[in-house]
């Protein structure tokens, strides 16, 4: 075997396999609760523990969510689908086989669009989307000669999304995951919460000479528990493979584990049996028709997808690209934003800054999602209107929003109870302006010497003196008048 030429000519070829748990009430083939974090083996029944004599019955909502995801990813959805058995032995797999889909998945040939630099987008192919059941969880108490199995997760509906080997860098893999997660959350099919295990990812990567289609051996990397780790593990393994190839050594086709503490990938125990999954059609489940009416209903039920929203925010609402992207990044934020706009009579930009500022801060502080923040969109719109009318300063508006979230008061009540009606009376404000000028002779001198910034310090002093209630525009105007500008 001749050694491939060294580093600069090599490019990585990366594909990702993502599993997401579908947000159903019950499991895929039985009526047990689909819930994270219950006591071990609390949500089990004869079906999901693989008792003899029981049979699977497909959850219609899991099928619908799977199809919605396939449609949201632009996949071709077939007229019918079927399930297959994937046979292997493992203690977290009660039946000795996983019910999955082999040759006729829910969706084929979709794509995820990645926003590139300067507005260019890059299409990353989605090879297939299929439904399957999750396995249970195993625990390995350190120092003991046993492992423990919890079957609460066994039978939870999973959607497996396999990308085409279209990704060319770890950073691109990261962006693919962000975009995929966004789409799946928009389609409301999954929480996609990696911490709770509702999104899991395996990566595979190989190197090839740029311009060539001949790949070197493919390495599969498992145990990737965050998007950041996907990127780091890929970068690490690409470096490892590059070094090997540069030294004239071969890359082994193998499965490796990402070891977070050591920041490296290491081969999975090689004692692992070579797998022969013996796929065959699940005889307990006939074929399922996917009627065109169902597909149309699901397609119609999909919300506007992130890319379309981004375009609309920039094009029609005139938001800066960055603001628009921040809003569209999450469907809950985007939906909240649009409900604020729907209240009417408010400027898109101002509302956007409140949503991305005060509302997100409130959500982060309370560790809830935007829908969990106790600020009704109508109230936020009202606050924005007061600011726009000059009746409330920006600074005061933040306090009002915090008060609304805390007390559940209406915007008007909160403004009143905080005593934050803006001071926009010239006479009243003139007193504070004069006091500020008298207290800061240095700033006055600097301004007169041409230092424009000094004016801001003076405005700040007025705001401080009025505890934020001054109308900053008017304060500035009065200061300029007094300074004889």
């Amino acid at each position: 075997m001749t050694a491939p030429r060294a580093a600069p000519d090599l490019e990585p070829v990366i594909g990702l396999e993502v599993h997401v748990q579908l947000a159903t009430r019950s499991k895929l083939f039985c009526a047990c609760r689909n819930e994270y974090g219950a006591a071990p083996n609390a949500h089990v029944c004869p079906v999901c523990t693989g008792q003899p004599g029981v049979l699977p019955v497909l959850n219609e909502q899991a099928l619908s969510l799977g199809l919605s995801a396939a449609l949201a990813l632009g996949c071709e959805v077939p007229a019918s689908t079927k399930f297959d058995r994937k046979n292997y032995f493992y203690p977290d797999l009660p039946k000795g086989y996983q019910i999955s889909q082999y040759d006729r998945p829910l969706g084929l040939g979709g794509a995820v669009e990645l926003a590139g630099d300067g507005g260019a987008t890059r299409r990353v192919g989605v090879a297939r989307v299929h439904l399957e059941e999750d396995a249970g969880k195993t625990l390995h108490p350190p120092g003991e000669n046993y492992s423990l199995v919890d079957l609460n997760r066994a039978g939870v509906p999973l959607l497996e999304i396999v990308s085409a080997p279209d990704l060319r860098s770890p950073e691109e893999a990261h962006r693919y995951l962000v975009a995929l997660k966004r789409t799946l959350r928009y389609a409301r099919v999954s929480e996609c919460d990696m911490e709770k295990g509702s999104l899991r990812c395996d990566a595979n990567v190989s190197l090839r000479a740029r311009g060539s289609s001949a790949l070197n051996a493919r390495v599969e990397i498992k145990n990737l528990n965050s998007f950041r780790n996907v990127e780091r593990a890929l970068a690490h393994d690409i470096a490892r493979q590059t070094t090997l190839l540069a030294a004239g050594e071969a890359v082994l086709q193998e499965t490796r584990m990402w070891r977070e503490e050591e920041e490296c990938t290491a081969p999975l125990r090689s004692k692992e049996e070579e797998h022969d999954y013996r796929y065959f059609p699940e005889p307990d489940l006939p074929e399922f028709a996917i009627p065109p009416e169902l597909v149309e209903r699901l397609r119609a039920g999909l919300p506007e997808m992130p890319a379309a929203r981004l375009e609309r925010y920039i094009g029609r609402l005139g938001l800066p690209a960055e603001t628009a992207a921040a809003l569209a990044a999450d469907w809950e934020v985007a939906d909240y934003y649009e409900r604020c706009l729907a209240a009417g009579g408010v400027p898109a930009r101002a509302v956007a800054s409140f949503v991305l500022g005060a509302v997100l801060q409130e959500a982060n502080a309370r560790h809830v999602s935007v829908s969990g923040v106790n600020i009704p969109p109508a109230s936020l719109a009202e606050v924005a209107r007061l600011v726009e009318a000059g009746a409330l300063s920006h600074q005061a508006a933040r306090k009002v929003l915090a008060e609304i979230a805390a007390s559940g008061q209406s915007a008007a009540q909160a403004v009143a109870s905080l005593g934050l009606e803006q001071v926009s009376d010239r006479a009243q404000l003139a007193v504070a302006v004069d006091a500020a000028l008298a207290a800061a002779p240095v700033a006055v001198a600097q301004y007169r010497a041409g230092k424009q910034n000094a004016l801001n310090a003076l405005v700040g002093a007025v705001m401080k003196a009025t505890r934020g209630k001054a109308d900053p525009k008017l304060a500035r105007q009065l200061l300029l008048e007094r300074l004889g500008a």
């Binding site: 009526a31 047990c32 089990v44 523990t49 219609e60 909502q61 032995f89 423990l148 005889p283």
Partner: protein
């Protein structure tokens, strides 16, 4: 089917088989497979495989949780449990 194949299939199927049995099974399975070769006489190109006998259509169930749980009864059948978990021999990591 030779001994090596029998042993490979036995490993896939997680069946412990001693040497004597392996030899006997190799002979029996070879005879059975030889007999099954008669199927080769049938031309089946272009014939769709029939995984089921009839034209059944799958039906689904609504996404509802069942009220009752047989969890306790199921765990009672488990040979070894610990703190509500199913205990199994150590899975080598």
């Amino acid at each position: 089917m030779d001994r090596t194949t029998v042993d490979w299939v036995a490993r896939l199927a997680r069946l412990e088989i001693d040497e004597r049995t392996s030899a006997r099974l190799a002979a029996q399975l070879s005879a059975i497979l030889e007999y099954f070769r008669s199927l080769e006489q049938l031309a089946t190109a272009g014939i769709a495989p029939a995984a089921h006998p009839g034209d059944l259509r799958g039906s689904t169930r609504p996404d509802e949780e069942a009220a009752a749980s047989a969890a306790a009864q199921l765990l009672a059948n488990v040979p070894r449990t610990r703190d509500g978990f199913i205990q199994v021999p150590r899975i080598i990591e």
